[in-house]
């Protein structure tokens, strides 16, 4: 404040005194007594304090000064009531913490800019079936090349696959590594620099060599500076390491991949017919080109392509969208749903704190009354009370940030591995801003009603100490409304959680089609030239599987069956419900029918198994026979099919005895169908089973098309045990590893565990919703408890009188409980009604249960009413213990 202002203000007292003095003198001159004259002068002057304050306000940035004052005052007051403050802050910390946690996840997955220099020009280009416009379908290398030709909008378009788990061999022990296949120019386009070595230059159509991630370099090669030129053996290829990429290159944010296989671009002049769609395209827009413009241009390009290559492009839509949205947009539905859920939790927390404030306001009525009498303005009072709430909510917000640090870790821990990692994302300005906003909003939401109520107090009544009953009636009504709202919101959340848990149990109870109990499984990926090579000089596009594969299979079964505690052992290419499977999906021809066109070739699963497989897994053979020992190489080749395959291809005939020929090798022989087995769940517990064919591992040809190779050298062993133990699992692992050193043995676990992992998505949803609904329930219970205790303490007089007039304790107890039940019934009614509108939003996450599930609704309603009853039982008992004599004595 300027010096002039300070002087003016300090002289103001004197000035006002002089003013009143002069006025008094004038009044006396008119004939009043000195006392009258002075009173009249004072009356005419009005509120002295306010005049001074107003004058002061002229010179100050008032709101700021008052705000600082109010904050100090609030802190002082809050310190004086530590219990209230602690409960309020804790409640808010939980509510705000939950919100910050979910927002952090949203920020990490959907909002944060990607860590690439020109990230605002990066887009994902995907194709989709117009029937499913929200899908982001995979594309082929040829698609990538075609789209890259659209030079009017793109600088370049490059492709990358998702991470494939493959075996890496060499150095004594095998390892499963995550391999990305990508165009060699992709890292440069993204602005990712080599850490060591240099990226290969683009050569059309060539496999260009290997790169490794910085993290893999550290982990596997211990940061060896001479790593360049060392040969890595993975999958079907091998080659020297050409480049170590810069740290943190993690395009899909599921953890940095290990190895990059670089490809040259495909030839855009080719039709791409038969080129499988399994990669994603990432483009960089030209400077100044917007995503919308690119979309318009790509629509034209796609129309043109559909004319030139109708077989590949007819009826395929193309979408251009910002890269982050393109990569992670699929998770937004689910994440925003969670945000809504925690929003509800925060609402309940707000209602609770508002309740506390109302109770506190009652005990402060006298103080506020006095301040109003001394000339405090109503807006000023409201502002002050609101400041107090906001101070509270900021304290809660700070606590919330702490809670969210744990929350994010928990979220990451619970989330399935295909969710982008959220824990690594640093806390940034966006999260702080969000939390700040939530704090202000929260403070206003829970503070406004109590502030208004408090400031409306009637000065006269308050000072006279009256208005107890009338005032508290309407206050009680406000509190009741808050409780009803809490119960309603809690019910909605409980229904959501209930539906999710219901879904989870149904998913877990889904019959996978086999008996997972007492089964141990282990995965092995045979690696090395001994097993496989691609050196057939006549057919470079075929791989050759060598006899040691079959030998290994036979030996491993013998040895495993010899282990103590093992009842039987068998294997299949890929265990049903396992992750990252790379099944062969051959086409086939039915003898006596026209060959199926490759475009229309039916997709089926193809597995080779050992004779005991169906028995060990407990898969029933419905008709005919399974695969057994007699199916040797020299015997006629046979196949067993599952129900789905039988229904799909032989809806009216008996498939047994039919002959089919698969196209996964030029040496395939016609196979006779000898049996039908029951369906098993392959790709997910909630998915329909696919048609599947099983053949004996002894009846396979050496030469295979590349698409089948991975399945040929991968085996999922299943071991039926008398008793599952750690030791047994270890000896299974060791047995396999001894037989195939250098190969990758992994995934040694129980089959039951594999089944649970397949339900991981649902357990993730159920756990999150369960946690939030639990918090909501707890908060609602606290709210009910608070309101009922306060109501009882307010009515203790009335209760005493009732008992003095002959009411039984039991009746008083009933009176209080009845009130609680009525409140929670109204809340349940409102909650149930709102859930009818809200729960359908969940339906895409549900399985086997309708969004309006009467049983869930009934159960959670009963639970909620039970909890509210329990919460009000304590205050009710207190009411019943009131001593009527005490009351009468006070009368």
């Amino acid at each position: 404040m300027k010096r002039r202002a300070k002087r003016l203000l300090s002289d103001l007292d004197q000035e006002i005194r002089e003013h009143i003095e002069l006025a008094t003198q004038e009044n006396m001159a008119r004939g009043m007594t000195p006392e009258e004259a002075r009173h009249a002068a004072l009356r005419k002057f009005g509120n002295v304090t306010r005049a001074k304050e107003d004058a002061r306000e002229v010179w100050t940035v008032v709101w700021l000064e008052q705000f600082v004052q109010d904050v100090r005052f609030a802190l002082r007051r809050l310190r004086k009531t530590p219990a209230f403050t602690a409960v309020a802050i804790l409640t808010l910390a939980i509510g705000i913490g939950a919100n910050t946690t979910i927002f952090s996840a949203i920020n990490a997955v959907l909002l944060r800019p990607l860590p690439y220099p020109d990230q605002d020009r990066l887009v994902r280009v995907s194709s989709y079936d117009p029937k499913y416009p929200r899908d982001r379908g995979p594309v082929s290398w040829t698609d990538v090349a075609h789209w890259g030709e659209a030079k009017q909008v793109f600088e370049q378009v490059e492709g990358t696959s998702g991470p494939d788990m493959v075996a890496m061999s060499g150095g004594g022990s095998g390892e499963r590594v995550a391999v990305l296949q990508m165009n060699a120019l992709l890292p440069t386009m993204l602005g990712v620099k080599p850490f060591l070595g240099s990226l290969p230059t683009d050569e059309k159509h060539e496999a260009l060599g290997f790169g490794i991630s910085y993290e893999f370099w550290q982990r596997h090669f211990a940061g060896d500076p001479h790593v360049l030129g060392k040969t890595i053996f993975v999958d079907t290829g091998s080659g020297p390491v050409m480049v170590v990429l810069a740290p943190h290159f993690d395009l899909l944010e599921t953890g940095p991949p290990d190895i990059f296989m670089f490809h040259g671009s495909a030839n855009p002049a080719e039709s791409g017919i038969g080129d499988p769609r399994w990669v994603m395209a990432i483009g960089k827009l030209k400077r100044g080109v917007s995503v919308q413009e690119a979309q318009v241009a790509m629509d034209v390009v796609e129309q043109h392509l559909a004319q030139v290559f109708p077989e590949e492009y007819k009826g395929v839509g193309v979408r251009v969208e910002p890269l982050r949205q393109g990569l992670f947009g699929w998770s937004s539905d689910f994440l925003y749903l969670l945000l809504a859920v925690v929003g509800f939790v925060l609402l309940i927390a707000c209602a609770n704190v508002a309740n506390l404030l109302l109770v506190r306001a009652d005990s402060r009525r006298k103080e506020i009354g006095v301040r109003v009498a001394l000339g405090a303005g109503r807006t000023r009072l409201i502002r002050q009370l609101l400041t107090e709430s906001i101070v509270l909510s900021f304290a809660g917000g700070l606590g919330g940030l702490l809670v969210s640090i744990w929350g994010i870790k928990l979220f990451d821990l619970l989330s399935p591995n295909w969710m982008p990692r959220t824990a690594n994302a640093p806390m940034d300005a966006r999260i702080l801003l969000f939390t700040f906003g939530v704090c202000i909003l929260t403070g206003i939401v829970f503070g406004l009603v109590p502030a208004f109520r408090a400031s409306r107090s009637d000065v006269n009544e308050t000072l006279r100490g009256e208005g107890r009953t009338t005032g508290s009636m309407s206050r009680q009504r406000t509190r009741n409304i808050l409780v009803i709202a809490e119960v309603a919101v809690a019910l909605v959340l409980l229904i959501c959680a209930g539906l999710m848990i219901n879904t989870l149990t149904r998913v877990l109870r889904t019959n996978p089609g086999f008996n997972p109990n007492q089964l141990v499984t282990a995965q092995v990926r045979l690696a090395g030239d001994k097993y496989i090579d691609s050196t057939d000089p006549d057919h470079l596009d075929l791989n050759v599987i060598h006899p040691p594969v079959e030998l290994f299979c036979r030996q491993v079964l013998e040895r495993l069956q010899g282990l103590p505690g093992v009842e039987a052992a068998a294997f299949v290419d890929w265990l049903p419900l396992a992750q990252d499977t790379q099944h062969a999906h051959p086409g086939f021809r039915i003898a006596g029918q026209a060959p199926l066109l490759s475009a229309e070739a039916p997709t089926i699963l193809f597995d080779s198994i050992s004779p005991g497989y169906f028995r060990v897994m407990g898969i029933p053979v419905l008709r005919g026979r399974g695969i057994d020992e007699q199916d040797r190489e020299s015997a006629p080749w046979v196949v067993a099919i599952n129900e789905s395959m039988a229904h799909q291809f032989w809806p009216k005939q008996d498939p047994i005895g039919q002959v089919i020929t698969f196209d996964n090798s030029p040496d395939e022989r016609p196979r006779q169908i000898v049996g039908i087995v029951k369906d098993v769940k392959d790709y997910g517990l909630t998915r329909e089973s696919m048609p599947e064919a099983f053949v004996a591992y002894t009846q396979l040809s050496a030469r295979t098309v590349p698409g089948w190779t991975e399945a040929r050298v991968h085996k999922s062993l299943v071991v039926r045990t008398r008793f599952v133990s750690k030791e047994l699992m270890e000896s299974v692992r060791k047995t396999i590893a001894d037989l195939a050193p250098d190969s990758a043995v992994y995934g040694v676990t129980t089959v039951q565990q594999t089944v649970s992992s397949a339900a991981r998505v649902w357990s993730f949803f159920s756990q999150l919703l369960g946690i939030f609904a639990g918090v909501a329930l707890l908060l609602a219970a606290i709210g009910v408890y608070g309101v009922m205790s306060y109501s009882v303490s307010q009515r203790s007089h009335e209760m005493g009188l009732r008992m003095a007039l002959g009411a039984q304790r039991r009746q008083v107890l009933g009176l209080v409980l009845r009130q609680a039940v009525i409140l929670s019934l109204i809340g349940v009614g409102i909650g149930a009604a709102s859930s009818f509108v809200l729960t359908p939003m969940l339906s895409e996450f549900l399985y086997g249960v309708k969004p309006h599930d009467a049983l869930t609704l009934t159960l959670v309603s009963l639970l909620l009413i039970g909890v509210t009853l329990f919460a009000s039982y304590v205050p009710a008992r207190r009411a019943a213990r009131i001593d009527p004599m005490e009351t009468l004595r006070h009368e």
């Binding site: 000035e15 006002i16 002089e18 002069l22 002057f45 009005g46 002295v48 001074k52 002229v58 000065v459």
Partner: protein, 118 residues
């Protein structure tokens, strides 16, 4: 209680009080009490200034540079503050007066349209 009524009156005066002070000071410098009295007197006591609100208004006008303040002595021979119109304040008064006339004229026309036509 009367708090609510008082508030209404202050609000009614808020905008015009500044103008009235400036007008009063056009006649020469004066101290607070004299200004209050002059306003009351000149309006035939229709306008009752809540005298307390005069001082914040004076401070406001000083801050805007429309009036200045100097020390002097009151009728009682005590130290007092005398307020004086500045050149800037004079201009402001002229502008505000014409604005006020337009405004009150317009309000009058709306409220008594028939009289205008007669």
């Amino acid at each position: 209680m009367s708090t609510r009524e008082e508030k209404k009156r202050v609000e009614l005066l808020q905008g015009t009080l500044d103008l009235l002070i400036l007008r009063t000071l056009l006649l020469g410098s004066a101290h607070g009490h004299a200004i209050a009295k002059a306003i009351e007197f000149n309006s035939d006591e229709v306008l009752q200034v809540e005298q307390g609100s005069l001082y914040p208004a004076l401070h406001r006008l000083i801050k805007r540079g429309w009036i200045s303040v100097e020390d002097g002595t009151s009728e009682n021979n005590r130290r007092a503050k005398f307020y004086r119109l500045t050149a800037k304040g004079r201009k402001q008064l002229a502008a505000e007066t014409s604005k006020w006339e337009k405004f009150s004229g317009a309000i009058a026309r709306i409220l008594r349209p028939t009289e205008e036509h007669e």
